[in-house]
């Protein structure tokens, strides 16, 4: 299977003197959902930001759809099919829902209507919120706008940074279910999550990151079964459950 995203030995950080990623490799193949797990401060967000061209990369390389994209400017990457939903501040609070969605496809106006239809299909609630300022929405609605906006550019790869953070378990579940639908529609997905169990449940494979290095990787089932992952990210309950 071809790799949509191929990250090789990437070293990156916000300042030249302090590297946050200290040689991270990761692969996301076409049609997969891949989850990156790790404790707070592990560098998960930094990894996604480095792929999106928002953090300077000092070594290693990143390939997207078989093209070297290391150090490429963010807006160009987005126009080539890479979409990213940040962990926080992922909607324009002062702009309406409608405008937030439109922004996602502004560089490709021809497809705007069709994609708006697809996004509203996925998140029907957004239709009646169209004219509200995104800042007035609840956390769950905002997350829908953020994901919807990211899909407006018809991405080949969708990267989401903690899409379920701050949502009720029920809403979080809805988000993951929708991610599956998005994947089934042909979008490859890379997720960073704290909510390991729910994320792995919809994922094909996963990576565990700690202190800027990859700790382990494997299929979602392997990670769910692994005692180390269980202890660190799934809580003690999972161990008891296995016993």
């Amino acid at each position: 299977m071809t790799a949509v995203l191929d990250v090789r030995d990437v070293v990156a950080g916000y300042t030249p003197t302090l590297q946050i990623l200290r040689g991270v490799s990761l692969e996301v193949r076409a049609g997969e959902i891949v989850t990156v797990l790790g404790p707070n401060g592990a560098g998960k967000s930094t990894l996604i930001k480095a792929v999106a061209g928002l953090v300077p990369i000092s070594a290693g390389d990143i390939r997207f759809l078989d093209r070297d994209i290391t150090g490429m400017r963010t807006h160009i990457l987005v126009r080539q099919g890479l979409s990213y939903v940040p962990q926080t501040e992922n909607v324009f609070a002062r702009l309406s829902v409608e405008e937030n969605l439109a922004l996602g496809a502004d560089f490709d106006r021809a497809a705007m209507e069709e994609r708006r239809g697809q996004v509203l299909d996925l998140f029907p609630d957004l239709a009646r919120l169209g004219h509200l300022a995104a800042g007035k929405l609840s956390g769950g609605q905002r997350q829908m706008v953020a994901v919807g906006r990211a899909l407006m550019s018809a991405p080949k790869l969708l990267m989401l940074d903690e899409p379920s953070a701050g949502l009720s378990p029920k809403l979080a579940q809805t988000v993951f279910t929708q991610l599956r639908r998005i994947r089934d529609a042909g979008v490859t997905i890379l997720i960073v999550e704290q909510n390991a169990r729910a994320a792995l449940a919809v994922s094909d494979r996963g990576y565990v990151l700690a202190e800027g290095r990859e700790r382990m990787h494997g299929s979602a089932a392997e990670l769910l079964d692994s005692p180390e992952v269980g202890a660190l990210y799934l809580g003690a309950k999972s161990r008891l459950a296995r016993k």
Binding site: L54, E89, A93, G104
Partner: protein, 298 residues
């Protein structure tokens, strides 16, 4: 009394056109551009150069003591000022941005540009006041008891049309949406495929164009001096802060408050203190609404 209010609104029209550039640069580039006054002055002097080049005077439109020659010159001056400002950005501010310079470094750089700008204008055009034409304001009676100067009305109309055009640009065009998006969150803008460098260029062009209109109109009703823009800087900042940083329309409202309160101060015989009166009012409003008239609370 009417005349004082009219004077105030004319002044407001001019400072709001200048202050919009200040506001847009502040919101998109995140620094207070202390060289905005010099952009206003440069616009006025460029218009003077084009008036001289065209050699057709300033024209007239009925009772209004300026016409197409001044307006055409102003159009050319908008292009010239924009080019100049883009050049300064490319040579200076862009470099500072690329090096992640602090806000204070950008402000100091703007101070430097401001000083240099005034010196260059003085070198090029001399330090003495100049006029586009010999202009004596003549009021006409519009209604019984209501006398207004036609040029004042023309200036208010030009400013209102400019603000309307800006509003349509910001609310209806893709670039306008990109500007609002970049003002709110530049990183998220890039994630939406927006080339923020292009947005920055448009910000300078719009700010410089409106400043050129302000400078030309100010030059017409008062005079051209190298310090003409610098002396508008304080009222422009007052308008910006009063209206609420982050809201272009607030800037216009702030300008009206500053302009009218200054000329009412003159009306009640406090002409020597007119700026102080305007600032007292600004402080009083800010004590009640720290975020400005139309600003949102952070």
């Amino acid at each position: 009394m009417m005349q004082y209010v009219a004077d105030g609104i004319v002044f407001a029209a001019i400072i709001s056109l200048g202050a919009i550039g200040l506001s847009m640069i502040y919101n998109i580039l995140r620094f207070a551009n202390f060289a905005q006054g010099e952009i206003v002055a440069a616009g006025a002097y460029f218009a003077l150069a084009f008036v001289a080049l065209l050699g057709a005077g300033v024209g007239a439109m009925g009772p209004v003591a300026f016409g197409w020659p001044l307006l055409v010159s102003m159009g050319f001056a908008m292009a010239a000022t924009s080019t100049m400002v883009l050049l300064v950005d490319w040579l200076l501010f862009r470099q500072l941005r690329d090096k992640n310079a602090s806000r204070i470094a950008l402000i100091m750089a703007a101070f430097g540009v401001s000083l240099m700008g005034r010196n260059i204008v003085t070198l090029a055009a001399g330090g003495d006041p100049i006029n586009y034409t010999f202009y004596i304001p003549r009021s006409i009676e519009l209604l019984p008891g209501l006398r207004l100067v036609p040029d004042d009305l023309a200036i208010i109309a030009i400013a209102a049309l400019s603000v309307l055009a800006l509003h349509l640009f910001l609310s209806r065009t893709t670039m306008g949406r990109w500007m609002r998006a970049t003002a709110e969150n530049p990183t998220l803008a890039r994630i939406n495929g927006i080339d923020t460098r292009v947005v920055i260029r448009w910000t300078w062009i719009i700010g410089a164009s409106l400043a050129t209109i302000a400078g030309t109109l100010q030059g017409h009703i008062v005079e051209l001096r190298p310090e003409m823009g610098f002396s508008l800087l304080l009222p422009m900042f007052a308008a910006l802060i009063l209206g609420g940083v982050g809201n272009v329309y607030g800037t216009v409202l702030g300008a009206i408050v500053v302009g009218v309160s200054q000329s009412l101060a003159v009306a009640i015989g406090l002409s020597a203190y007119r700026e102080a009166v305007a600032f007292m009012l600004m402080l009083a409003i800010l004590l009640v609404r720290p975020q400005g008239l139309l600003g949102e609370r952070e």
